[in-house]
């Protein structure tokens, strides 16, 4: 067994959240630069230029890219030959708390959704999805999820007879309804299959995948490309003010499902698609 100190996990989580809130990934920067070449209207060009400039300022001054520094979401792959010396869950939440305190990040979490809605004041608890895998390392992919785009996300349980056309229709309908609200250009995370909650988790995971990567299965890769084309034909455009770049990418993840269903979850992420990964 390999022993990992809880302190090391806390430190890694803290560092990641400060960094990912201030430094956008190269995949997004490259896609925005490409969008700049494709867009023709002065407004669309100007929006993209301002987003690029915004991200440059954030990086240079190490301030948050967006004021909505989101809820902290972590996908953890926990090696079965690892023992954490201390409390794993506390370490993650402590890392989030310190990052949001010391990194000048907004605290956006309320303690209960309906009644008090009192701010927890430290942006915890984090949302943690843990999977036990074989090996002696812990892999963490972390992201901060803003709710302008989270609120535009939807899930639907389709009949198997709806087929791929049903999946396409639903994804396009969700993006069309979201319109300007989720800060386009967006990254569309689609989770297909599994159970109700698994499809939602896959959709979130899809938004945490580099937009330079495609699904390994050729058929799903084609579906990603087709949906991206169709979405960009909608004309919603940067900031919803019209243009050719409504989405930067469609990322699909899938899982086996039941004979009676095709669960489809669409998790929309804004252009501030902030995530990083680490192996401890």
């Amino acid at each position: 067994m390999r022993v990992i100190k809880a302190q090391d996990i806390k430190d890694a989580v803290k560092k990641m959240f400060i960094s990912l809130n201030c430094n956008i990934g190269d995949d997004i920067t490259n896609a925005l630069n490409n969008a700049l070449k494709i867009e023709q209207s002065a407004t669309a060009k100007s929006v993209i230029e301002q987003l690029l400039e915004n991200n440059r300022i954030a990086k240079k001054e190490q301030i948050a890219i967006c004021q909505d520094t989101g809820m902290a979401v972590l996908f953890v792959e926990y090696g079965d030959k690892v023992v954490v010396d201390g409390d794993f869950s506390d370490a993650i939440n402590q890392g989030v708390k310190e990052a949001y305190d010391e990194g000048f990040l907004r605290k956006s979490v309320v303690c209960d959704p309906v009644f008090d809605r009192k701010n927890t004041s430290d942006n915890t608890p984090a949302v943690v999805h843990t999977k036990i895998v074989s090996g002696d390392v812990i892999r963490i992919t972390a992201g901060c999820k803003g709710f302008g785009s989270e609120n535009m996300s939807k899930i639907k349980m389709l009949s198997p007879s709806a087929g791929v056309e049903g999946v396409k229709d639903f994804v396009l309908e969700v993006v069309r309804q979201a319109g300007p609200n989720p800060c386009p250009p967006i990254v569309v995370g689609v989770g297909i299959g599994g159970t109700f909650e698994q499809s939602a988790q896959l959709a979130k995971k899809a938004t945490f995948r580099s937009i330079d990567d495609s699904n390994a299965d050729e058929r799903y890769k084609k579906l990603e490309e087709e949906l991206l084309l169709k979405i960009n034909e909608m004309g919603i455009g940067p900031a919803g003010l019209g243009g050719k770049t409504t989405a930067l990418s469609v990322n699909i993840e899938y899982a086996p499902t039941h004979i009676a269903s095709i669960p489809v979850a669409v998790n929309i992420c804004c252009h501030a698609c902030r995530h990083q990964s680490i192996e401890i």
Partner: protein, 175 residues
Amino acid sequence: MVKKLSLPLTKEDIKTLKAGDSVTLTGELYTARDAAHKRFYDMVQNGEKLPFDVKNQTIYYVGPAPAKKGYAVGPAGPTSSYRMDKFTPMLLNMGLSAMIGKGKRNDDVIEAIKENGAVYFAAIGGAAALISKSIVKDEPVCFEDLGTEAVHKYTVVDFPCIVAIDSYGNDVYKR
């Protein structure tokens, strides 16, 4: 061409604005988002006076990130406006003249904008670090217990936005 406007806006200024125009705003405005709007609404229902007079004022839907040392404000981009729709016609009827946010508004809001000769601006969502450069002063006004949702008065200089819904009810998102 970018139109340079001073806050508070005059009724004449507002009449010249057309959906899609790029403008910059200079002057003072108030911040308020979900929780503050709910309080405004409850206060008016209870016959109480609002903490500041909204007449002719501009409200910016924002919940900023904390400011680093040496900064007037932290990153401060717009939040989605539709969540304020329920409370907006009331404020417009009380004389509020402009709002800054992002995204669509419902028909009730568009109607109230027309009736009151008001205007709705969109700032670029997710350009928070850039936008914060045009906010030069930040004073707390009320509801400090709401943290990032507290009401503040900002002094802005050349704050960039786009006319999203003009006083004639034209909507840039419906084009």
